[in-house]
Amino acid sequence: MRWKTVEYSGWGRVESATGEIARPERASTLAALASERPAPAIGQRRSYGDACLNDGGAAVDMTRLDRVLDFDAESGLLTVEAGATLGDLARIFAPKGWLPPVMPGTGFATVGGAIAMDVHGKNHHGAGSFGQHVTSLVLMTREGPKTVKPGSALFKATVGGLGQTGPVLSATIQMLKAKGDVMIVTEHRIRNWDHFLDRFARTDTTYSVGWIDATARGAALGRGILEEAETGGGLVKPAKRGKRVPFNAPAFTLSPPVVRAFNAAYWRRVPDSGRTVVKPIDDFFFPLDKILDWNKLYGKQGFHQFQCVVPLDQAPALKAMLDQIAASGLASPLAVLKRMGPGRAGYMSFPMEGYTLAVDFPNVAAAERLIRALEGDTVAAGGRIYLAKDALASGDAVRAMYPEHGKWLKEVTKADSDGAYQTSLVRRLKLRSAP
């Protein structure tokens, strides 16, 4: 296997790494790599910060191991190589009446990445996290393939485990029965924070997500649009080809006045009485994927995403955080609020029952300071930040947020005693050493 020295970055383009990358196309090649030169696996690098980087070290690009190995049309059990993307699986199986059980905000995420981050989606309140639908996975250990089943400590250390137990070769996933390959989406205009919480408490649809105007202040604080959706059958709209952002956008593109004006217009787009629309599956689950490299909209200095979750009873703390964000005037139009259920499958999984808020910020010093302050507020509220998005947290704070870190560390140390699978994030947060 040849290695190629590459400079690569996370989705936020703030953090980058230089290192050797191998890109196996066959399971046998991955097995040889795992025994000769074990290195962390990376996929489509949709993590925003440094979770998908190994600066100064090696990494294994899994994107060419992306085949469907088995599908049972009766039970919906799907076995797939880890490099397959969830968007690809949705495209293949939705016409047959099955969807990936959990889909994050981008269809470019791979199955391996979805496992390593135990991702959640717009159905988290009911369906839980991705790892809860994995019925079996195969880890490529240094001794060869090893099947890992739910219930074992190794499974809990692998799901949400940041790739630290080694590369996932393939996984068996219980797919979700879908009525068809379109989404029936009802959009509600939300006046303010309390209105949002009230609607989230009453929503009973399978999928729900809130877009929030993180620039609105005062009485309008927390205004936004709630989308509630179910799968449906109907005419299939042909998929459009993705568009590209031709160059790094100039700084004013996402400047405060532009964002405020955009957000106000976007909010008014939905009539006060709400409306119901039919959307192709991709448009609902992966609205930004149509612009293939939208991360360039933030210019070449890149951007951060802050995402936290706080327990239900800490909603006032989250409201105070949103107030800080709105007062800063730094937020971009991309801000999401969602009520999560308790579902999680691994020791280091992000979800907890509560409210999760995700906001993008351009990479400027003031935003960095704000994110660090918000991280402190999250710890104080008994919440967590999402490591798939993080580039700024401190190790102590993260350990305080993830109480099962010790159990995870014990399993990871067994699977990888010499730390070969460490990534830039794991080193930055010192997650592989006991506190």
């Binding site: 190629k4 196309e25 066959r26 046998s28 085949r67 469907v68 190995l69 088995d70």
Partner: protein, 243 residues
């Protein structure tokens, strides 16, 4: 609807080709040496809609396996063939061990040519079907850095031209595909790869050529003007160049 016999089915481009054929509703018989890997690709093609998806053993250097392909083909109502076989040892390895030439030429030219010649009467009898032969821009001119592989591909190009001449009379179309550098396992980590293309692009160009019954294509198209210029350079000057 046709069934593609895909020689060299484990190659990066072949895998993408098989997947696209499956999504077009066409059958695939993946032929190559690594049966474990071919079985995984066959399962993938079945999930994507291929009515026939199977793996068979094939080695361009093994006549028995070529005869096995012909036997399998005999049981098909109608079929098409796509050839992705080839091997490209670095020229300096060949210079150090000239015995490698035989294997390179067998993989990239004579093995697939023998298989196609044995399949040709069946295709003539059907009076339909397509042969896709993947050559290389390296076959357009012998270069110091890669001339044994280039010579094998040049031979294959001439063979395909003759085969087109023969089969075209019986309603079977032959497409010669000349890709430039493609982002595959074979080129991963190599330096100096001008106009590097993704396998998806090569495959969409191939299917367009199949559907439009094109004879010879360069893919991506930039290689057509590039190779037109390179072919036009007088040998007197070319022999002093290293490109």
């Amino acid at each position: 609807m046709t069934t593609w016999i895909i020689l060299g089915g484990t190659s990066t481009i072949a895998r993408v080709f098989a997947r696209s054929a499956a999504e077009r509703g066409e059958g695939v018989i993946l032929a190559g040496r690594d049966l474990d890997d071919l079985n995984a690709s066959a399962a993938d093609c079945a999930a994507r809609g291929a009515p026939v998806a199977e793996a068979v053993a094939f080695d361009a250097r093994d006549r028995k396996s070529i005869l096995g392909i012909v036997e399998r083909a005999r049981t098909l109502d109608a079929f098409s063939v796509a050839v992705f076989v080839g091997s490209m040892p670095p020229q300096d390895q060949i210079d150090a061990e000239p015995a490698l030439i035989e294997g390179t030429v067998t993989d990239s030219f004579t093995g697939p040519a023998e298989c196609l010649t044995r399949l040709a009467p069946l295709m003539e009898a059907h009076g339909k079907g397509t042969v896709v032969g993947v050559g290389s821009v390296a076959g357009d001119r012998g270069r110091v850095g890669n001339y044994v592989y280039g010579a094998a591909k040049a031979g294959f190009h001439a063979y395909l031209s003759g085969l087109r001449n023969r089969l075209g009379r019986k309603g079977v179309h032959v497409v010669t595909v000349k890709p430039g550098t493609v982002d595959t396992a074979m080129t991963w980590g190599l330096d100096k790869l001008p106009f590097l293309a993704q396998p998806d692009k090569i495959v969409s160009d191939i299917f367009r050529a199949v559907d439009r019954k094109r004879d010879v294509i360069y893919t991506p198209i930039i290689w057509w003007p590039v190779m037109t210029v390179i072919r036009a350079i007088p040998e007197r000057i070319f022999k002093k160049m290293s490109i």
